[in-house]
Point group: C2
Chain length 245, copies 2
């Protein structure tokens, strides 16, 4: 089996923004979906680990796009494992448009946890062999790794209770729902004038129905913002950086 997996996708109407381009949260959903398929196909997916005792958890995701697929267009996702460590693994992605031209890349960091205890497992002893066979050392991912993010703002610009539609099958706020909420911190007019070039998100802890999420934001450069989401005014949940064109 090829080390790098390749998956055809279709940009349906309901995945695009007001400019007719695939949103970052919809792209993120598809990346995570393809990561799961790639791992399952190669023997180290969630499905292959004794009926749900263990699951993959996304720790960080960076997406950097020069363009996005448009409404009704096909596109292609490629994904491969870059490296494996004891408690985490780096997985990369390339995104190609309907003409087969590369339009962007993504980097992600994952851990596998024991679902009940929420404790990271030793990847090398659990999946070392299958994962090692999937490391594609020849594929390059020419975007920077996740940056260090520090937010100084002391007042949230938005505060929202977690909604039913935020919650996924694990009873936590879905990772891409945070992304959607971060994009909603900027106006329609801003988004229409400034396509997002790069988006980073790191997950520190989980949130549940009943929690309140506060969004703290600094402008660090022109068209560059860092965001911290805190639950119930205290615990940092998510760090994010968004860079507009």
């Amino acid at each position: 089996m090829e080390k790098t997996g390749e998956y055809k996708r279709y940009c349906a109407s309901y995945l695009v923004n007001s400019k007719g381009k695939l949103t970052y949260s919809a792209l993120g959903n598809e990346l995570l979906n393809c990561a799961g398929i790639h791992a399952n196909e190669r023997g180290f997916g969630r499905k292959t680990t004794s009926d749900g005792t263990y699951g993959w958890v996304l720790s960080r995701l960076v997406m950097e796009m020069n363009d996005m697929p448009g409404e009704y267009e096909d596109f292609t996702l490629r994904t491969w494992v870059e490296s494996i460590y004891r408690t985490f693994t780096n997985r990369n992605f390339e995104i190609l448009n309907h003409k087969g031209h590369s339009i962007g890349f993504a980097r992600s960091v994952w851990a596998m946890i024991e679902m009940e205890k929420r404790q990271a497992v030793d990847l090398l002893s659990m999946h070392g062999e299958n994962m090692a066979a999937s490391v594609d050392a020849e594929k390059e991912c020419p975007i920077d790794k996740m940056s260090h993010i520090r937010v100084h703002a002391e007042t949230p610009i938005v505060q929202n209770a977690v909604k039913w539609s935020d919650i996924d099958i694990n009873q936590h706020v879905n990772s891409m729902k945070y992304t959607e909420h971060i994009f909603d911190l900027f106006s329609l007019q801003w988004h229409e004038a400034h396509p997002t070039r790069r988006f980073e998100i790191a997950y520190m802890t989980e949130t549940r129905y009943g929690d309140t999420l506060g969004y703290y934001m600094d402008e660090v450069n022109e068209k560059e913002y860092v965001i911290e989401i805190r639950k119930n005014d205290t615990t940092p949940v998510v760090h994010s950086r968004i860079i507009f064109a």
Copy 2:
């Protein structure tokens, strides 16, 4: 070409709720997507009408489900035209689970409008021939048509400004985003105890970025609610009925 179109779909992780079942808004998105493909294939889609001058607009949608596809399951959508009138058409759907068993049906009403003027066109003269060839008189849709909805509540239970992520390529709030927001009127605990059996939604006027949406709700029976969404405290935008099991 077959009158009824049949489309295979996959229930990815990001389409399910806390119980691991496809959400009504995700199902609705797929129904609308397949309606578009079905119409395009048969010569009366948006794509076949001179570069976007005309577009299909959803007027009403009813979904009644005995079960929903689960996470990672394949499912099948069937869609056909029930009837054609001068300014609207009835399109129905059947939903089958991964075993090929029917798990529910949907009914929808559509108009085609001239996009600039927002005026309905005469379907019989514009598409009569192609559409007539797609009317499947033998397929049954054994669920009730949309009911009449009247809401008496005078105070909104929720009021929200339209967000960037609500807006679609037509610069209006996306039809399935209203659905998601209506489901968010009920708690996680309520949804987990009461799967939705039937959902109705009718669209009266469009809303834009900058509008504020108020949600007015009456309990009409045990486990049955009607909702009116009003923009800017006055104009009715959406009528909806939700019936839980």
